[in-house]
Amino acid sequence: MDCENARRRISETLDGGRPDAALVGHLSGCAACSRTLTRTRSLNAALASLPQLRPSAAFSTGVLASLKRARAAESIPAWPLAAAWAASSLALAAGAMRVSLSIPRLAGAVAEGAALLELAGRLALRVLPAPRAGAELSAAALIAVALFLTISLPHAHKTRLIGAKS
């Protein structure tokens, strides 16, 4: 066994491996490797006796305050998001009715309902404490779609009626 292999085996032995006859034989005749064993044991012992370090006194208070905020964000009701979903669904339905040109009055009513729902969802998101970013973004995206459709629909419906009269 050469010294390089002996040092590897020493490290394994210190991690619970059993010293084999080849290592024992090498150590009995190699002062450098015997010294490596002694020194590595000393280093391991010194590492094990290092004191634990403490964070600042404000650390745990800060973590617990963050946890409290996280809990509060989790307890936000889901209805604003549901309102945004419903608003966008109604707006899309109104858009589909308008495209089909068959029931414009119903399309107008549905679009008005969508606008009201959208407004409720938007106000709720503004009034409630900061919700989770993902929900906020989803709601904002849906609200944007609903807003676009509900604003454009009455105008399109009116234009169509004027066109029909003339």
Binding site: S11, E12, L14, D15, A32, L47, P51, P55, F59, L64
Partner: protein
């Protein structure tokens, strides 16, 4: 170390049932070991405290995924390991996590180390020797000896095979020992001759 009156798993259960007092107790119990690990791994007190906060918040949010049969401290140290490596990579894009930035001359300690006067291996010197190791070797040693984990537990904490842990430990010990001998050599050289 004596067993705590309330097991970590029971504190986790309390927290999962909505009692934040359970998590406060877990925080109190494990904050020093997480902070110590991160302080020695990052080498910066402020970074270590910021990262410790991130670690505990992540642990809180992931508690539902915690396996109650597993030790809480190795689970939270695994989160700390990922947070620290992300931090070290972000801090220095050119950082090599497993190469020695201060290589040792292979001849160091080879010309009769037994002739060298043995420097006292005090805590300050050990801290310096650890700080000089590449991060991946440093964390393996800290978990194995600082935290007293077995090779199997270190492997589970770091998510790597046991063989890889043994290789990192071997290289870490070699580097530390050689740096120690190089330090002694410098001390001997600088010591006034009688």
């Amino acid at each position: 170390m004596s067993e705590p009156l309330v097991a970590d798993a029971d504190l986790v259960r309390r927290c999962l049932s909505g009692d934040d007092g359970g998590f406060a107790a877990l925080l109190e119990r494990h904050q020093d070991r997480v902070y110590s690990f991160l302080r020695r791994l990052t080498g910066d007190a402020r970074d270590a405290e910021d990262l410790s906060q991130v670690v505990f918040l992540k642990a809180f949010r992931s508690l539902e995924t915690f396996d109650l049969a597993r030790p809480f401290h190795s689970w939270v140290l695994a989160i700390a390991h990922h947070a620290a490596l992300d931090h070290l990579r972000a801090r220095r894009t050119d950082l090599s996590l497993d190469h020695d930035e201060h290589p040792i001359d292979p001849a160091d300690g080879a010309d009769g180390p037994e002739r060298l006067a043995e420097a006292a291996l005090d805590g300050a010197l050990v801290e310096r020797l650890i700080a000089a190791l590449p991060p991946l070797y440093r964390e393996a040693l800290l978990l194995r000896h600082g935290e007293g984990l077995s090779v199997e537990e270190v492997a589970a904490t770091l998510g790597i095979p046991e063989g890889t842990v043994k290789i990192r430990l071997f290289r870490a010990r070699e580097l530390m020992r050689r740096k120690w001998e190089a330090f002694e050599k410098d001390e001997t050289r600088e010591a006034p001759r009688p």
